[in-house]
C-alpha cells in the first residue's frame, strides 16, 4: 500500500510551474479584487526583469489608483503630481539618456489634467514609454466620469449615462498620439482574459525593446476595468469591458515602425 503523501511532498523545484514575479516587492497590493492594475503591474515587472532593466529603470507613478505603484516594483521611482508624469520623464530621460524611463498613468491623469504634457512630450518624440491604463472612470475618487467614459456609461457624475450632447465625447487620446510624428510605437491592449494578458505583455515588451532604440515615444494603452467603480463583480466587469469598451476602443497596434525591421522581438505566447 502506497504511503500517504502530503502537500509538502509536492513542493519540489522540478514541480515548480509558477513563482512570484521577482521584481514585485512583498508589499500587499491595495487594489480592489479583479482590478486590472495588479495584472498590468505584474507583466510590467516581468518585462523589466526579463529585459535586465532593473538597474536602468526609472519609473514615474501617477496620481490615481496606481499612485502607490512605487511600493510594488523594486526599481527607482518618482511620484508625479496629477498629470505631470510626462514632464518629469522628459527631464529624467534627457538628463539620464542611458536609462529606461517610463510613466504609468490612468485616464484621468493622462487624458484630462495631463493632456497637454502627454501630447507635447509625444510630439517632441521624447524617448520614454507611456503606459496608459484606461478604465473609463476616476476609480480612486469615487467613480466620477473620466475623459474616456464611453457614451451611455454610468458614473457617479453621469448617473444616467454619459450624454454626449451635455458632457461631450470620450477622448481617444491614443488615436491622437498615434498621429503625432514623435511617437514610434502605439498600441492598445487589455488584460481582461488570459489570452489578452499574453498579448498585452507581448506588446509591452515590444514597446520596451523599441524604447531602447531612442527613436521616439512608445505608448501602450491598456483598456482595463474598475469593478468597484463600475459597481460590478470582477466577472461582470470583464464581460462588460469586452462588450462595451472594446467596440469603442478596439485592440491592436495603432502605429508600428515602418518598415518594422529594427527588432525581432520574438513571441512570448
Amino acid at each position: 500500500m502506497a504511503e500517504v503523501t502530503g502537500i509538502k511532498d509536492y513542493i519540489r523545484p522540478e514541480n515548480l510551474v509558477y513563482s512570484k514575479t521577482r521584481l514585485m516587492t512583498d508589499n500587499v497590493l491595495h487594489y480592489c479584487p479583479g482590478c486590472g492594475h495588479s495584472t498590468a503591474h505584474r507583466i510590467l515587472a516581468e518585462i523589466i526583469d526579463e529585459e535586465g532593466l532593473q538597474q536602468d529603470a526609472i519609473g514615474i507613478s501617477p496620481v490615481g489608483c496606481s499612485v502607490f505603484l512605487y511600493n510594488y516594483i523594486d526599481i527607482d521611482w518618482q511620484e508625479a503630481a496629477h498629470g505631470r508624469a510626462p514632464a518629469l520623464a522628459t527631464a529624467i530621460k534627457r538628463l539620464c539618456p542611458d536609462k529606461f524611463v517610463f510613466t504609468y498613468q490612468g485616464d484621468g491623469d493622462l487624458a484630462a489634467i495631463g493632456t497637454s504634457e502627454t501630447i507635447h512630450s509625444c510630439n517632441r518624440g521624447e524617448n520614454f514609454l507611456i503606459i496608459f491604463i484606461n478604465n473609463g472612470i476616476y476609480g480612486m475618487t469615487g467613480g466620477q466620469m473620466a475623459p474616456t467614459t464611453i457614451p451611455g456609461m454610468k458614473s457617479s457624475t453621469s448617473p444616467y449615462g454619459r450624454d454626449t450632447v451635455r458632457m461631450g465625447f470620450p477622448l481617444k487620446i491614443t488615436d491622437i498620439v498615434a498621429t503625432l510624428p514623435g511617437t514610434y510605437y502605439v498600441s492598445r491592449q487589455s488584460v481582461h482574459t488570459a489570452l489578452n494578458v499574453r498579448r498585452a505583455k507581448r506588446a509591452l515588451k515590444k514597446a520596451v525593446q523599441y524604447q531602447s532604440l531612442n527613436r521616439g515615444t512608445c505608448f501602450v494603452e491598456i483598456v482595463s476595468n474598475c469593478p468597484a467603480g463600475w459597481k460590478m463583480t470582477p466577472v461582470e466587469a470583464n464581460k462588460w469591458l469586452e462588450e462595451n469598451m472594446l467596440p469603442y476602443y478596439p485592440l491592436g497596434d495603432l502605429k508600428v515602425p515602418q518598415p518594422e525591421k529594427d527588432l525581432n522581438p520574438g513571441s512570448t505566447d
Binding site: 538597474q55 523594486d74 518618482q78 522628459t90 527631464a91 534627457r94
Partner: protein
C-alpha cells in the same frame, strides 16, 4: 555666435510647453540629483506653485528665478516687488518654505545662481531668486566666476537606476499615515529653523549712527541707497538695511537696529508686503511705515526721502 553650450558643456536646455510642464521637468531632473533651474515672471511663477510645493515636499534641490512684474492678474510687464508673499510665505499649499535670495545687481543675479544651488543641495530645498523687471533688464558690468568642475557624483537619494544591494530610491511627497506625515512636517520645521540660524544674509549701509532706517531689498534697496545719501546731504542721519535673504529674514538685525532708530520705513514696489515681517521683527519698539510705488511704477530716491521727511515732521 558662440559654440552651442548644449554641445560643449553637456547641459540640457529645453523650452517647455508651459510653466506647469517646466516646473515638473525641474522636479524630474532634480529627482535625478542634477542641478536644474527654471525662470519666469510673476504669472508664470503662479502657474508653477503646485510643482514648487511638490518639490519642497519631496525635498528636492532646484533654483527658480522670478523676474517680478506688477499684478494682480495679467497686470503689467513693468517691474514690481509684489510677489514677496508668494515667495516668502508659501505660494503653494502646505507648510513649507523656499530659501529666497534677493539680488540687487546684475552681479548678484549671476553670483546667486551658484549660491542658490549650493544652498539648495545643502538643505535639499528649493531656492527662489526673487528679482524684478528692472534688474531683469538692467545692463551692468558683471564678472562671471569660472564654473566649478562638476563632481559627477549623484546624491545617494537620487533616482539613477537601482544598483544591486541598494534599496530603491523613491522621490515622493505622499504619506497617507498622518502620524508619519506629522513627523515629516516636524523634520521640515527643524530644517527651516537651521536655515534661519545659519543662512541669514543682509547688508547694512550707513546704519552705525542712523536715526532713521530704510529696510528695502532688490531694486528698492538700490534706490534707498541713493535716498540715504540725499538725506545725509541734508543732515538727516538715514541708514539702510538690505535683506539679501528674504527667507530666512534678518529679523534679529532689524530688531537690534530698532533699539536705536526713531522711524523705520519698509520701502518696496508693492502695496506693503515685506513690511509685515519688518513689523514682527521690530516688535512695536518704533513706528514702521510702508512706502513704495506699484503697478510697474518705480519710486525715486527723492520720493522716498520726501516721505521720510513727512513722517519725521508728523512724529
Amino acid at each position: 555666435m558662440e559654440a552651442n553650450p548644449a554641445e560643449t558643456t553637456g547641459m540640457v536646455v529645453l523650452q517647455a510647453e508651459s510653466e506647469i510642464a517646466a516646473i515638473n521637468m525641474v522636479y524630474g531632473g532634480a529627482g535625478c540629483g542634477k542641478k536644474v533651474m527654471t525662470t519666469s515672471s510673476s504669472p508664470g511663477i503662479s502657474l508653477m506653485q503646485e510643482g514648487i510645493t511638490y518639490i519642497a515636499g519631496a525635498e528636492l534641490p532646484c533654483l527658480i528665478v522670478n523676474i517680478v512684474r506688477g499684478g494682480p492678474g495679467l497686470g503689467t510687464i513693468q517691474p514690481a516687488q509684489s510677489d514677496y508673499f508668494q515667495a516668502v510665505k508659501g505660494g503653494g499649499h502646505g507648510d513649507y518654505h523656499l530659501i529666497v535670495l534677493a539680488p540687487a545687481s546684475v552681479q548678484e543675479m549671476a553670483d546667486f545662481v551658484e549660491l542658490g544651488f549650493e544652498l539648495a543641495f545643502r538643505y535639499r530645498n528649493p531656492v527662489m531668486m526673487l528679482s524684478d523687471g528692472a534688474l531683469g533688464q538692467m545692463m551692468e558690468k558683471v564678472y562671471l566666476n569660472p564654473q566649478k568642475e562638476r563632481s559627477g557624483i549623484s546624491p545617494d537619494w537620487a533616482t539613477t537606476g537601482k544598483p544591486p544591494g541598494r534599496e530603491r530610491n523613491i522621490i515622493t511627497s505622499l504619506e497617507l499615515d498622518s502620524a508619519k506625515q506629522e513627523l515629516f512636517n516636524l523634520k521640515l520645521i527643524e530644517k527651516y529653523n537651521e536655515i534661519r540660524e545659519k543662512e541669514v544674509r543682509f547688508e547694512e549701509y550707513q546704519c552705525e549712527d542712523a536715526e532713521y532706517l530704510f529696510v528695502a531689498y532688490g531694486t528698492s534697496a538700490r534706490i534707498c541707497q541713493k535716498s540715504v545719501q540725499l538725506a545725509r546731504n541734508e543732515g538727516i542721519r538715514a541708514g539702510l538695511l538690505r535683506p539679501v535673504t528674504l527667507f530666512p529674514f534678518p529679523e534679529k538685525q532689524i530688531s537690534r537696529l530698532a533699539e536705536k532708530v526713531k522711524i523705520i520705513l519698509s520701502v518696496e514696489m508693492s502695496a506693503g508686503q515685506m513690511i509685515e515681517d519688518v513689523i514682527l521683527a521690530v516688535g512695536g519698539k518704533v513706528p514702521v511705515f510702508h512706502f513704495g510705488r506699484m503697478g510697474g511704477m518705480v519710486q525715486t530716491p527723492e520720493e522716498v526721502l520726501d516721505f521720510l521727511k513727512l513722517k519725521i515732521k508728523e512724529a
